[in-house]
Amino acid sequence: MMDSPLPEMPCQALVELITDYLEDRLSPGDRRRFEAHLADCELCRMYVDQFRQIVRTLGRLPAESLSGEAQAALVAAFGGLSRR
């Protein structure tokens, strides 16, 4: 059975899949196409790098710097969970 050449994943598709990629939730085929596109596209490499910077920076945010609404979300969330 012949393999068809895999169509390229364009930039507009890639940017919708970044979180899936980081969570390792892409199919093997999609992951290959994602990485193949990144290898060839400097703009998407920059975009993904910036995306990752944002995720890491959010992790460094002290919770008390959040607005009242965001803090309320946290309180509600911890109310719904058993202690870890």
Partner: protein
Amino acid sequence: MLRLALSRIDNRAIAEEVVQESWLTVLRSLDKFERRSSLRSWVLGIVVNVARSRARAERRTLTFRHPGDDAAVDPSRFLPADHPRWPHHWAVDPIPWPTPEQQLLAGETHQVILDAIGALPDTQREVLVLRDVEGLSTDDICKVLGVTDTHQRVLLHRARSRVRHAIERYFATGKKR
């Protein structure tokens, strides 16, 4: 070959690309043709495979919206599907950021990030805060918010994309909101 491609893909430009791709595959693979079928059947079989893959990919790449939802990134940032050379590639390029990552919480960008979080739709904000700020597990977030794993990931991705965009807009325009 074109008629066959058009039977599966109702866009003539794409069908023509499918035919080109098929020819390249035929030329590359001619030494693998084992004469179990006629050459014509074999070539048309290739067209069918290429057309199928392409149709799948086009459905995925041309339908960025889930039903009733917006894409995480504004479609106007990208070239249209019928662009002759770079369909769906960047039209408005991302720009390099002048501030190193470690400084993003040091100056004005700290407030830009906080404001961006505050401006998120409620469920996107909840997922982003619980996940990226607080580090809750996906399982716990799904339980707390009553959403599926897939939906949680969609919300998270949209939220992160918006925060990234807020920082990009700040660097591009100096606007904090």
